[in-house]
């Protein structure tokens, strides 16, 4: 299976990268940008083919390594190979 994981900063956590991108877009003349948040996107190829087990596995990976749950949220989708 394939897992597509989005990791985003929690609400209220400062996002220096997002802030800088917003400024840079403004400087490039894109002026309709009201906010930018930058996160991570991770794709995993899993050998597991059972959706239930894959889900549990990916959740554990996010909690233990992929996301820093003190400041980040995560969200993922699974897709059969």
């Amino acid at each position: 299976m394939k897992a597509r994981i989005k990791i985003t900063l929690k609400n209220g956590v400062l996002d220096p990268q997002g802030k800088a991108i917003a400024n840079a877009l403004g400087a490039l003349g894109f002026d309709g940008v009201d906010g930018v948040r930058q996160g991570k996107y991770i794709e995993l190829e899993l050998s597991e083919s059972d959706p239930k087990r894959a889900e549990a596995e990916v959740k554990a990976m996010c909690e233990q390594l992929l996301a820093n749950t003190v400041i980040e949220n995560y969200q993922f989708e699974l897709e059969p190979a």
Binding site: P16, Q17, A20, I21, A24, A27, L28, Q38
Partner: protein, 229 residues
């Protein structure tokens, strides 16, 4: 020799390279704010090291769009010499004045230490005071110095002799052990087709003064002086 050092928000080796330029060429460079529209008349434009725009998004990506860059690109195309050191190299790849990209170090860690480099070309305006095959010691200090290009580009670089510096060991051997960041073909510095634009990850300005423990960076500045007086 008239030179200009471009100062981006977040540049932090601008002063260091200005000191070396002044000490070794006898001419103090103009310090040019990124928001200016034109670079003053210069024989050499230096894009210094640092973390322009915090290196957020991608190293060098936002600086590549700074107002001053339009003029720099035009001047570079017209033959003005351009030297990009570390973050400056990253800016040059982002503007596509040089091919490839500097990715996160293979170790994922920032790395700051002296490395050994083999000089591959001594016939450029940047390196004519070295001798081909010289092994020189110069520090690196970067998080994103892992040079990457596709196979075709690497082959073209090699065929055209555009790799100017490579990470090596003490006897000049090129190998994985002497590669600090995972760069393809141990590439530390590349030059454009015209031979007027050089980007390199190591910091020659950091070892160009005996008090700092070495002077292997100094010949680069002397080369430029001789070529551009």
């Amino acid at each position: 020799m008239k030179s200009s050092v471009i100062v981006f928000p977040g540049s932090n080796c601008d002063r260091d390279v200005a000191v070396s330029l002044e000490q070794l060429t006898g001419h103090a460079p103009a310090m040019v704010w990124h928001g200016e529209a034109v670079v003053p008349d210069s024989d050499l434009i230096v894009l210094p090291g640092g973390f322009s725009y915090g290196d957020y998004l991608r190293s060098g990506a936002m600086a590549a769009h700074s107002p001053i860059m339009t003029d720099i690109i035009a001047k570079a195309r017209a033959g003005v010499a351009v030297l990009g050191i570390c973050n400056g190299f990253q800016v040059l790849t982002e503007t596509r004045l040089l091919p490839g990209i500097l990715m996160r170090n293979a170790s994922l860690k920032f790395i700051c230490r002296d490395v050994l480099l083999r000089v591959e070309r001594d016939d450029t305006i940047f390196t004519n005071h070295y001798t081909k095959g010289d092994v020189i010691r110069i520090p690196v200090a970067h998080h994103d110095g892992n040079y990457f290009s596709d196979d075709d580009t690497i082959r073209a670089l090699e065929d055209e002799g555009r790799v100017v510096l490579r990470y090596c060991d003490a006897d000049g051997t090129i190998g994985e052990d002497s590669n600090p960041n995972g760069s393809r073909a141990n590439i530390a510095g590349v030059i454009d087709k015209t031979g007027r634009i050089l980007g390199l990850m190591p910091h020659p300005e950091r070892l160009a003064d005996e008090a700092l423990g070495g002077t292997d960076g100094a010949p680069m500045f002397r080369s430029l002086l001789e070529a551009l007086h």
